[in-house]
Amino acid sequence: MSGKVDFSREILPIISDNCFKCHGPDANTRETDMRLDTREGVFGDLGGGYFPIVPGKPDESEIIWHISTDDEDDLMPPIESELSLSSEEKSLFRQWIEEGAEWKGHWSFEPVIRPELPEVTYQNWPRNGIDHFVISKLTEQGFSPSPEADKTTLIRRVTLDLTGLPPTPAEVDAFLADNAPGAYERLVDRLLASPRYGEAMALPWLDAARYADTDGYQNDGPRDMWRWRDWVINAYNQNMPFDQFTIEQLAGDLLPDPTMDQIIATGFNRNHRYNSESGLVPEEFLLENAVDRVDTTSTVWMGVTMGCARCHDHKYDPFSTKEYYQLISYFNSITESGRAVKFANSEPWITTPTDKQLELLLKKDERIASSQVSLHSKQSEIKAAQKEWEKSEAKNTTERSFLDEGLVRYYSFDGNDSGVNVMQGNPWLSSGMFGTAATLDGDSHFVVDCDPILVTEYRWSISFWMKPDSVEDSVIMSRQEISTTRPGITVELKDGHLQFYVMTRWIAGVGAVETHEKLVPGEWRHVTLTNDGSYRAKGMKIFLDGQEAQSRVLHNTNSNKDVSAKGAKFRVGGGVVGNNYQGQVDELRIYDRTLWDDEIAQLAVPARIQEIAEAKQKYRSTAASAKLQAYYLNNDASEEDQALANSLFDARLKRLKFHDSLPKTMVMEELGMPRETHVRRRGVYHDRGEQVERKLPKILSLSNDSFSQDRLGLARWLVSGKHPLTGRVTVNRYWLKYFGRGLVKTAEDFGIQGDRPSHPELLDWLADEFVRLRWDIKAMQKLIVTSATYRQSSRISPTMLEKDPENVLYTHGPRQRLSAHISRDQALAMSGLLVEEIGGPSVSPYQPDRYWEDLSNMKYDQSDGDDLYRRSLYTIWKRTLPPPSMAVMDAADRESCMVSSTRTNTPLQALTLLNEKAFVESARNFGQRILLEGGSSIRDRVVFAFRTVAGRSPKKTEQSLLEAAYRDYRGFYAEDAESARKLIGVGESKLNENLNPKELAAATTFANMLFNLDEVVTKE
């Protein structure tokens, strides 16, 4: 045995793996009082003078006896656990105790202490601190570093890494020509300033944040979260410091006077899957949502598998179930319903215009204002004319013509309506509000014709007068199907309160609101109900006598489109279940838009137009005057004045429609009162245990600091600079991005069961440097890519392969297949097809025919034009059926948080790169560039093409092989015009008709071959 045993590297993993299940942090499965996860447990008296471990004295330590005994009853770990210690592990254990049994906490929970830079032998090699750590370990193992990669390799490597795109030959030339000192650093600065940098950085963040364009369950319906994606890209491009980046995403909504952008940022914790299935129990998914937020936040910022503590105390790491639910309580008090909307964003969401759209919106506001001014400035003229009209023509007016924009049905119940039928009993007409009214006796109802607009997803309004004879529970009116699910709308009296329901399915799809006020019998009241098509109970409003009534939400699960109820009968006086209404209903109006408050006030005026006109002005209420003028301007004013009024109406309507079309984003919004949080036994939603309050996990709570007990406090705790995990975990992910493997290989688990860091001091130095540089993200990227470690050649010698096959020591530079996204983007870039537009909604590039349709209930609406050629970051991500060409290339599936990627090497990937439409179309367009830009000789074309795809010029042997290949393809297509035409017909981009099809087919084939070279699909 050589050297002292390292507790955290050699002993703790053995104990953790083999003993913690029964003697670890989980109190419920601890078999005896013996506890091996704490100092007290390990060194404490077991009673009777027995100690688990006696430092220096292995033979007096109970543990040694238990792991060494032949007695099957006493042997640990027990036989039935199917665990066992190797003899090597046993002797390590013994040695550790002999050496004094030094006990430390788990490394990653200990504070970061900035290490000194180690002295190095290759003094000229290090370019920054990173290299000191790397080289000292490298030389310790008997290696020397690899030489720096040549400049063409280096520019291609760093350009792919920082922008996700290859350098152009011109960029390569410029770099080659720059022989002044600092050329490489200047290159890095240029790349960091490129807008493509933000896109490249955003990609792994989107994987971690499980970003997608659909909800991820059952029907996997669409959602809009691209404004959040834009936020991430912009944040990286503007080099937002990581602490701010963290605070805004976790708690932007809780900042004082948050900006729209800060609220958009909180979409981070709304990106999780969200179930809309009708049969679900909302309580269950309120828990699942919070669980996903806690698990994701824990993985991304702390690299701990907090989710293990959901059902039981963590088996390995010091997190109890109680602590888990304490964390849950930071994330479960959101204004969400527990059931996702099936085909749209789920609450809470906000409307989030882009800068451009905001400008347009303001213009529309200005138009409304200017229309108002125009109308107002003519007020005295209009009034004068109106006065004349009141005297002569107002007596000929009808209520039907009042406020008739969007009025799709009007029933006066004056005996002259069409479309009114008696359905049940003997309803009649008797003296009502205006003329006669529908009169219902509790045993009867009318049915009136109605258009199929009264459904959740549309805007509409209903307005009427009512005078109840009784306020017993009853249905005043309804338009509802007769079935167990009863989709439709109803207006009811319940305990005197007025209730308004919009349902797609009882009880899984119901929006319902109720007035605080109780109605009384015998009084005429005016009622207006509006629905704004947003699937939210808060988009349903009740107005009484022209004023919005105080009301409360009864149900808020209306998550589905209403497809079935459009044809149901509109009943006045009753419904499909419940008692019929007793009393009167008059002046029923149905609009296909939501009425504005001023219009609703006018509708509630208890006088007809002619009555108002007849009354002296001083006896007219403001609303009555408004009603009269609205009528006049809409019907009988001069053409010019009518046009003025119309243009105001148009301006308002256009503004509303534009507002409806603006992008919406799901965000975090805190409930007024936090939800009560309970431990859930075994993690099951309905098995409530002890109630808990918000509190940070004990092992990670930082002394001397107090953080507010909300998400904002939690975010500030993470980026306080003292949290032991945030910095380590984050720099490790940056490292992973460049080297393909983190300094801690298990980027998602820094806990006791995770891998130990390969370079613990380097990790801590980087973590400290990150805080010292005030969380400057670009500075950290620059630090890594300008290190000598990163700049090494990626050539691999047999010795390296034998002694360090995974390149843990960094004997050479990184060499890795490009990611799914970058592979496609690179092909598009080289072909000239790439559209470098930043941000915006997701696009739908080529996908195999019927890929969605065969497996789901959604149709794939393929984009056209530029949208076929956007960066893959913008490709629509249907969570249950991700783009197959990306899934096959190991893209994260976005079902849950993913912080480390794998890179496999499979035949299906080969088939994709060879045959997928976007790659073939890119080859065709690159072929076109070869013919147009590559010169006329095969020799020149080969050089041009190879330089474009590989960044370097071909070597002699390569040149001759490639020329021969080109000739072969030419030979094939020279004799096969038909095949040539077919091949160059792939894809929707325009074909250059001036080119010889056979030549283009040959060049296309050549490009297709080049796109599949190992060097081209690899970052070298």
Binding site: N275, G279, I507, R795, L855, T880, T904, A965, A980, M1009
Partner: protein, 502 residues
Amino acid sequence: MNTESKNHAVPCDGECHNYGQLSENPLTMTRRFFLGKAAKGLGGVALASLLNDNLLAASNTAGNGLPGLPHFAPKAKRVIYLFQSGGPSQLELFDYKPTLKKLHGQEVPASIFNGQRLTGMTAGQSSFPVARSVYDFEQVGKNGLWMNTELMPHLAKVADDLCIIKSMHTEAINHDPAITFFQSGFQIAGRPSIGAWLSYGLGSVNENLPAFVAMTSNGTGGGGQPLYDRLWGSGFLPSKHQGVKFAGGKEPVLYLNNPDGMSSEVRRKTLDHIAAMNQMKFDDYGDPEIETRIAQYEMAFRMQTSVPELTDVATEPESTFDLYGEDAKKPGSYANNCLLARRLAERGVRFIQLFHRGWDAHNNLPRVESRQSNDTDQATAGLIQDLKQRGMLDDTLIVWGGEFGRTVYCQGELSPEAYGRDHHPRCFSIFMAGGGMKPGISYGETDEFSYNITENPVSVHDLHATILHQLGVNHKKLTYKFQGRHYRLTDVHGKVVKPILA
């Protein structure tokens, strides 16, 4: 095509040219083999094992499973899992409840519900009337098993081969969590599917085909519950273990076909050029990943020939279609997928899973069930018979079933002919066949409402444990460390259902 290669399988030299191989052990690659062939044109090499219909040995000759697996001698070498998505009704198919006729229209007694949760769809229902099945059952086979012979005339004929489990139960009541649970042992997305576990544990028998193939079909009634990539996904296992989706028709595997206008001859040339360039790269850089890539491109080329041959059923004799039904000629149909399942099984694919959509009968259940049965009955029975005739049923485990059953109480309108049933997780029926299961038996019992299990419950974890057991795998020992924890398909549950094993 190189006929010489017919009897000349690819040398077995470790992991590297197996299907979907990660380059974990690249040093064992036979670079010279591939490059030597590349120079002569690799076109037909190594098709041997694909073109050759002989059954391959099911041991891990390819050596790409885990060491020590199988744990014990397997009864079955492969699984064909016929997943019936949407939740078939046990009350209409296997769980005969004649006494319900008398109770039709009456309320289900509260004692039966026993306070259990209902789905959000029917929880608000004011009434829970019993709906009896419109069908009569008959006793079939030597042991007189009760089956609905009207809906399953063909399966009734192979009743002596079926091992019917009437006491399946699950924890989930909605489609997504329920099917995810059946596929991965966990209701929430993220865990590997059962086929991925087996690919990981046992590896592939045929080094030219994936260990795990998935195929989907739609009910003729249309629509149905969506399916998800994750159902055949690899979760946290390396992605090479994910199921590869096969389909009949023009492009059986995504991106298999060369672009229009590019002949196989041209493709062969481009691959030779790619291989030669990559070889030069390897000589310069020494990265074993490059060698793996060369091998994978060759494998891709071989698949271009072998897979269409595999999925082309035109060469099957008419007698095959007498068995599976005429539908088996239609690419994308359930029957066609059943036939492909047999062809894949013959070639040694370890885990073949079909998903047939459309069983979710909330309304008009009799119409739904009869359409679905019409889609699946003959082909399922045909597959069983076909395997039997070929002597393959003994070592092929067939599993048929959905993600949950359906309620005895009616959902939607109740009329003499029409009724619907909601999701029911507490008991439902599946069947297994072949692969060392007891043939011709029925296992487990339910109460007179087919609402609760009265005897021999079988959980999803138990089913998984049993499937693994038949393949020689101890479900407690097939684990994978992820996020610091050793995960397994059966989580911390599951026991092998011994009484149904032959």
